[in-house]
Amino acid sequence: MKYESVIGLEVHAQLLTDSKIFCGCSTQFGKEPNNNTCPVCAGFPGVLPVLNKRVVEFALKAGLAAHCEIARSSILARKNYFYPDLPKGYQISQYELPVCTGGYVDVELDGKVKRVRLTRIHMEEDAGKNIHDAHGDASLVDLNRAGVPLLEIVSEPDLRATAEAGAYLKTLRAMLQYLGVCDGNMEEGSFRCDANVSVRPEGTETLGTKIEIKNLNSFRAVESALEFEIARQIETLSDGGKLVQETRLWDEHHEETRPMRSKESAHDYRYFPDPDLLPLVIDDAWIAQVRAPLPELPNARKARFVNEYGLSGYDAELLTGRKDVADYFEEAVLAHANPKALGNWIVGDLFRVLKERKLDEQLYLARWPLAALNLAQMVQMIDQGKINGKIAKTVFDAMLDSNKTPQQIVSEKNLEQLSDLGIIEAAIDQVLAANPKQIVQYRSGNEKVLGFFVGQIMKATQGKANPQKVNEILREKLKP
């Protein structure tokens, strides 16, 4: 029997606001525990919450970008449970009337577009952090994170494969980054994912037992956990076993999911509208105000790169995966209109440098090791024949971390391409004169010898000779 998997993902995205959702504490964690807390986020007696306007705006941005229905009146609700990192004994979240419902995200995978529907997007506050004490008999609580604003984004169980889940997450993350709403860092916890997985015989409609997977701290973990869990579920059912609806944790170390120890999974959260907060009324004017400056979203930008710059879908994908990369690319193209070459330099050499420096997962670079303008001018110099491709690599490396323009470097290091025909000819003549045997080889049909000659000529000219010209004249001279 063939089974298909049914996957829904629940994402919690930490918002890039300056202050927390219900108080004026900073969202930038201090190094010292409990240094970014106040009586409000620490759940002291007598305190009251006041909603951060920007959190609502970010929720609206995300909702509009995902084509959701925006609730004209929505309610903040209390989710009640006891835990040391939950200072009030309840989390302020949204339950019956969330700010956004419905919506979808279009995900591209293997050249096809899949529409993944959303159930809802709502606002809520984050909890603090529990750390296990070195002594083992206690736990330590840091409330710096308590009250940091989150958006919870829930997808319908529309995903059918692990690869789809990964692609959906990446697309969603890129969207949130583009909107400036979340920096999407899974490793640091600003972008978290829980998965709901079930399997069913292929072709059937009824959903199988839904199992929740938590503790997924990277894209790789999401995909590995899903692979494992789907296989586990199929195996269990194929062996005639039964699946229990439960929450399982992904064990990164042992690469398996295992049931959560605590039976708290059967929570009765006793949701009710928070009487300390007023109904949130969102009118057309506010929506229009948020909608107007929405940035071009990843999918749209990618399509435009393909159409406007003639890039391949693959390259366009790489260049729009991060908003800052796309911005960098376009800044360069504006300075010198060779998108293909610039694309290659960025995706090849520049990405390599970012990876070496471990900047590739940082997701938004405030300072690039090489200014876009300088890269553009370098490519311009190649196109103008002032330097050749190989020399350009030297220029590229020299420009990293320096503020020097390519012109400065070329001039300082005397790297200007040799296009003076006289000098080139002289160099060619010199090399030919010194290598008569190879001339014979070439003339008897060995094309590869040309490479040897070119190499020698480049050596003789410190690599600066214009390769096309060298080739041209060399071939001419080698004619019998």
Binding site: S19, P33, C38, V50, P84, S139, V141, S262, D268, L278
Partner: protein, 95 residues
């Protein structure tokens, strides 16, 4: 009898209240009577009645996204039953 002892115990656990057996008995009886009194409300037909939305006749009190609090971990920890540096120290949490 609307309320059973088991139900009362379940609610006590939800509310994190330890009850002695005597308290369990007396609470079961008291809550049962009080809840019985609440049945009065079923005399009313509320099918077309709006849910009470809020006592304050206003909507949308929002604040600007500004950092207005100054860090002061010590003030916050001054009443802590137990602490470790600037952490709150609590009984071990088992995941």
């Amino acid at each position: 009898m609307k309320l059973s002892r088991e139900e009362v115990q379940r609610v006590a656990v939800l509310a994190r209240l330890r009850l002695t057996p005597e308290e369990q008995s007396s609470l079961t009886e008291e809550l049962d009577r009080i809840l019985g009194y609440m049945d009065k409300l079923n005399q009313l037909d509320t099918t077309d009645v709006d849910l009470f939305s809020h006592t304050a006749n206003i909507t949308n009190t929002l604040r600007e996204d500004q950092v207005t609090n100054r860090p002061n971990a010590d003030a916050l920890l001054a009443n802590a039953p137990d602490r470790d540096g600037t952490f709150f120290k609590v009984p071990k949490i088992i995941e």
